[in-house]
Symmetry: C2
Subunit: 358 residues, 2 copies
């Protein structure tokens, strides 16, 4: 096997786009030793992901505004990172099968449902570089489309028939909503409390990654200890992922992320760079407090000042380091499961979650 | 047993308020022979419903806006008609138990979740005589509170462990959302199509009554044929119930219903009286078309004119007759199940659904 195995042709399906991210990462980091693993990864997980993509494209829907709303979101080019987690966790065990495709599709549907409702709650206007469904089809359609995707996800999980994963998903969504409620409660205020910040992040983002790993592990027939290790991986992966999201909102490339910059700030949401920066610099604290509480929103001048201050205080660097620490911890949890292609792929996924630019 | 058995003391819990409705109905209709049945009904279903009320009061919730939103709705004085259906269906079989309380609580939680989302979608301001949760705590809190109630309902259904009811509930909610989507699609237009009207009503209202009957029947250990008969009862009961809701929106007593009058008209929703009236009277058709399409809403003068025209065309009377026909059909489905207190109570419930003033 030569390094040319790394030169994967452009992904024909958005489903395998994340494999491109992994490839770029390994190429960039010179991890050429992993090329064989990646080629294998593409051969077997790529197929699972293409099946998931097929399912997402063929989600049954009426020809009405609700149907159009949900289809709009589902066909936007997502990273499909959560389905990848399900597929890889299953491969740590005895692997694929129709249950894995069902569970992997379900996790993306749950994620999509939360995006639809979040956009309504946040008055979001841009998602994955396109206007949000609520802008195109109205809030009403997005509320029902989110409800419907959630139910569709649960039906697929029920249909997968893997013991324990339904209860676990319901408990996970409960956690997600509680975290969203906590975030809503803190909205518009600068809450300098790491504990609150991490409760929100673990609930709203990491819990679903944890479930993705649990679902895949259960479908792959893994023993409870291995399942626990993979769930811990999912939790740290999710936290790392969200922390990077926070950083990209302030200092990312809007073209790459497909989201407007400073959205979190505009919506009065606490993010990790703000937390670190405001703790370090009282002047920044005042600036951010005013910006978050502002009804009129944050103007570009203030936002530029905030980002400059964040760079000065080293908050953006501290943010990246925090994410890296979680990605590393994610990797450490994997030591409890058998080594192989899937495990090495999961290590890469954790690195890719931190080094991504979108 | 004397008629004094009918003189039930005032209900100590809103849960048993519906028994008061049944009592008033039987008193009004002179159905004194049913007094013994009602006394028994109170003795055994009242207890189930009080347990449901206890569950609803103690739904775990955070002290945040989402928690306050959902609590606000749950503690409003509801009719608890859906939990009553679960309890009575179970009594057709071998009766109660903790599973029945779980399922009966779940059906009210699902109903409450849809009310929270509907109020967001419709910009509703008044519900059960009080400002809606979204007016008090905002749309964002109501979206998440609705999501959370739905998940809480599903967890209780999962916990009840009655085979088949979880799948059936997911399929039912799917139907409910599709119907809401269809209604949304038709909003603001006078759609003179009985088929569309009944598809909306069966989905958005009757399907959940059908599930309530199915869940109770399954928990009570009934054979498939009896379950089917009770589901058919639920469907006709739900349609009758919704048709009366339509009539109360136009010609009810706002004080009794706790809802603003002409809400459906204001929101551009098709109702049965409008359908019948506009088919019968072309002048009314134009009036209603303008009223439904109006962005500014319907003013009191137009609404009064519409109601006068509906009375003139006999549409309100036709509406009541249609509801009575469905209530009667509901009663006929019961002939397939064993006679007894529970069956007679269900007959009464169908009559009460039509003769209620709130």
């Amino acid at each position: 096997m030569t390094d040319s195995a790394l030169n994967l042709t452009p992904a024909p399906q958005p489903a395998v786009e994340v494999l491109g991210v992994l490839r770029d990462l390994t190429a960039g980091e010179g991890l050429t030793g992993l090329s064989a693993a990646l080629a294998q990864l593409r051969a077997y997980v790529g197929e699972d992901l293409e099946r998931v993509e097929h399912e997402l494209e063929h989600v049954p829907r009426a020809q009405d505004v609700v149907g159009r709303s949900l289809h709009h979101l589902l066909t936007l080019d997502g990273k499909r990172l959560r389905p990848l987690c399900v597929a890889l966790a299953a491969r740590i065990g005895r692997g694929g099968g129709p249950a894995v495709v069902r569970l992997a599709t379900a996790v993306e549907l749950v994620h999509s449902a939360t995006l639809l409702h979040d956009d309504v709650v946040d008055d979001g206007t841009l998602r994955r570089g396109r206007p949000t469904a609520r802008v195109l089809y109205g809030n009403a359609a997005s509320v029902f489309a989110g409800d419907w995707l959630l139910i569709e996800a649960l039906r697929r999980v029920q249909g997968a028939g893997v013991p324990g994963v339904m209860e676990a998903l319901l408990a996970t969504i409960d956690e997600m909503i509680r975290a969203e409620a906590l975030q809503l409660e803190c909205r518009g205020r600068l809450v300098l409390d790491e504990d609150v910040y991490f409760r929100v992040v673990e609930g709203k983002t990491a819990a679903l990654f944890r479930w993705a790993m649990q679902a895949g592990a259960a479908a792959g027939g893994l023993a409870p200890e291995a399942q626990e290790a993979l769930m811990a991986y999912g939790m740290d992966l999710g936290v790392a992922f969200q922390i990077i999201d926070d950083a990209l909102d302030l200092a990312g490339d809007a073209e790459a992320t497909g989201k407007a910059l400073f959205t979190d700030l505009f919506e009065g949401k606490m993010t990790y760079p703000l937390l670190v920066g405001a703790e370090a610099d009282p002047a920044l604290r005042g600036l951010v407090e005013d910006a978050m509480a502002s009804e009129a929103g944050v103007d570009a001048k203030v936002a530029t000042k905030v980002v400059a201050a964040l760079r000065r205080t080293g908050a953006l660097e501290a943010t990246r380091k925090k994410a890296e620490a979680h990605a590393r911890r994610a990797g450490e949890h994997l030591e409890a499961v058998p080594d192989g292609v899937a495990r090495r792929a999961l290590t890469l996924v954790a690195q890719a979650a931190v080094h991504r630019s979108k």
